[in-house]
């Protein structure tokens, strides 16, 4: 089999798009049209639809795309989505962190003196689960845009956000206090397509595994999606 084996793949726009298209090139998928056309969303001949990473799980769960690529952060924020997580693609590494302004830990202070801390985030469910697991009362403030602004303006004492290099945090005078989960790109599949098109899906997984180098698709982190082993207690 070749290309996408007749499957429709949801490709994330944004930070994961470059590595995704590079991987597809190695599988023999013609991505020239996708690269040359910023505004078009649907590339039927190549079997590709493009969308925001956070929408990939929505389209794949509904079967509007049979397979998709998105970050583990998106999947962890929407854990009840009925999709198969098939392969760690290892690119797009980043970490979900708790951060505050440098200096005294304002979150710890708020918890000690007020009994509750305010945390701004674009990932309300990951954040709520993390503080629940670690036994701290937190009021989650959901924001849509640059979350770094929240602790600087007094909207919240801290943030939960995704960081790749930490430079945006640093530029805004924020420091990482805890790591919640490590994220990389994942290949996901619709549960019905996973059964009815098993051969096509399995072959795509095998070829992606091979293209990523060797049979070992493990990411650099021992175990992500799980705060237990990581810096929750730091």
């Amino acid at each position: 089999m070749s290309g996408l084996n007749g499957l429709t793949l949801a490709v994330p726009r944004g930070a994961l798009m470059g590595d995704t298209l590079a991987l597809l090139d190695r599988l023999g998928v013609d991505t020239a049209e996708v690269r040359s056309n910023e505004r078009r969303l649907l590339f039927r001949e190549a079997g590709i639809v493009t969308m925001r990473p956070s929408d990939v799980a929505t389209y794949v769960e509904a079967g509007a795309a049979e397979v998709g690529i998105t970050g583990k952060d998106v999947l962890a924020e929407q854990p009840e989505r009925a999709v198969y997580e098939l392969l760690d693609l290892r690119f797009g590494p980043c970490v979900m962190v708790v951060a505050t302004t440098a200096g005294d830990d304002r979150l710890a202070e708020a918890l000690r003196r007020l009994g509750v801390m305010r945390v701004a985030t674009k990932y309300p469910r990951i954040a709520a689960r993390h503080f629940e697991r670690t036994g701290r009362q937190a009021e989650i403030v959901e924001v849509k845009g640059s979350v770094e602004l929240a602790p600087l303006t007094g909207l919240a004492e801290g943030i939960v956000d995704l960081t790749a290099t930490g430079s945006t945090l640093r530029e805004n005078g924020l420091v990482v206090r805890e790591e919640i989960l490590a994220s990389t790109a994942r290949l996901i599949a619709n549960p019905v397509a996973h059964k009815l098109k098993a051969a096509a899906v399995d072959d795509l997984v095998a070829r992606m595994r091979a293209a990523l180098g060797g049979g070992d698709a493990r990411g650099p982190e021992a175990r992500d999606g799980d705060a237990r082993a990581r810096g929750a207690a730091r």
Partner: protein, 303 residues
């Protein structure tokens, strides 16, 4: 509603012909009845109180209410007992996901006939009911809820680690499952078996990979009539969310819809919790999803 009625009536005729008697139970059950069946399965989203302060819930499926009926109204009837129903069940939803709080289910429960014989009959009636609705392209995924736990035990996985691995399987997270298995450092052969078996789906050849853990599935598969066997996709990793399944489990797929149309399985321990210890199997189809798939097939739609 005319199309939905036609779907339901075509299935009812099959139930009738196969000797399944229709039962009605109230939409409201005592909470303690549902949680006795299965604390997780009940997951009753909608609760209210009666005049005495008892907690009442809207049923989330028909299997547990029928298990209650068997032990009360049919306490002395000789098995096998054949029940069918067309009834609404209620589930919690997440807003803006296009999910229904109320769903119409059509299904059967075959009580007092053990596997593989009882499982085969349940699957045969399932396929006959689907055929009767006019659905053409459906397939039935067939797995076994006891297969992977048996495989974990056979490879000496400690009980504490089993729960985590089974959780990953149920969450369909094969990356997490692979990591959890590799973290146990069981050696290459065991690691390979435990990571590859749940991904095996296809014809009878997939059974070879699972060894004696697949004996139950082998017996069912070997006894399927041809019309059913050609619809079946064996799926060694099939895990349904309800905890009361003890053996064969199945799900119905159609290319015209991105979600299963329904499913079921064997629950040999459930009725005992209500005082009448009988093996049983059953399934339910979501009538609205079935309707969507029928419309989609007639339009020639593929997702």
């Amino acid at each position: 509603m005319r199309e939905v009625h036609a779907v339901v009536e075509s299935m009812r005729r099959v139930f009738e012909a196969r000797g399944y008697g229709e039962v009605h139970t109230p939409a409201l059950e005592y909470e303690q009845v549902l949680t006795r069946g299965d604390p997780a399965a009940a997951d009753p989203a909608y609760k209210l109180f009666d005049e005495q302060g008892n907690v009442l819930v809207l049923r989330s499926d028909m299997t547990i209410p029928i298990a209650r009926v068997v032990s009360t109204r049919y306490a002395t009837a000789g098995p096998p007992l054949r029940f069918c129903y067309v009834a609404h069940a209620y589930r919690s939803v997440r807003p803006q996901r296009g999910q229904d709080r109320e769903m119409l289910q059509a299904g059967v429960e075959l009580v007092g006939m053990p596997g593989p014989e009882g499982t085969v009959e349940a699957l045969r009636v399932l396929c006959e009911a689907l055929d009767a609705t006019g659905l053409e392209g459906y397939r039935v995924g067939l797995g076994d809820a006891s297969l992977y736990p048996a495989l974990l035990a056979a490879h000496g996985v400690p009980a504490a680690a089993r729960a985590e691995i089974l959780h990953e399987l149920q969450a369909r997270d094969l990356v997490g499952l692979e990591r959890a298995v590799e973290g146990l450092r069981l050696g290459a052969a065991a690691t390979e078996a435990l990571t590859s078996v749940p991904q095996r789906r296809g014809g009878a050849e997939v059974l070879d990979a699972a060894g004696p853990a697949a004996d139950g599935l082998r017996a069912v598969h070997g006894a399927l009539p041809a019309g059913v066997a050609e619809r079946v996709i064996l799926d060694l990793g099939l895990a349904r969310s309800l905890a009361y399944y003890t053996g064969a489990v199945f799900e119905v797929y159609d290319a015209a819809l991105g979600a299963p149309l329904g499913g079921g399985g064997r629950y040999d321990d459930l009725l005992g919790r209500f005082g009448r210890d009988l093996p049983a199997a059953g399934w339910a189809l979501n009538v609205e999803r079935l309707h969507i798939a029928l419309v989609g097939e007639r339009r020639g739609e593929q997702p």
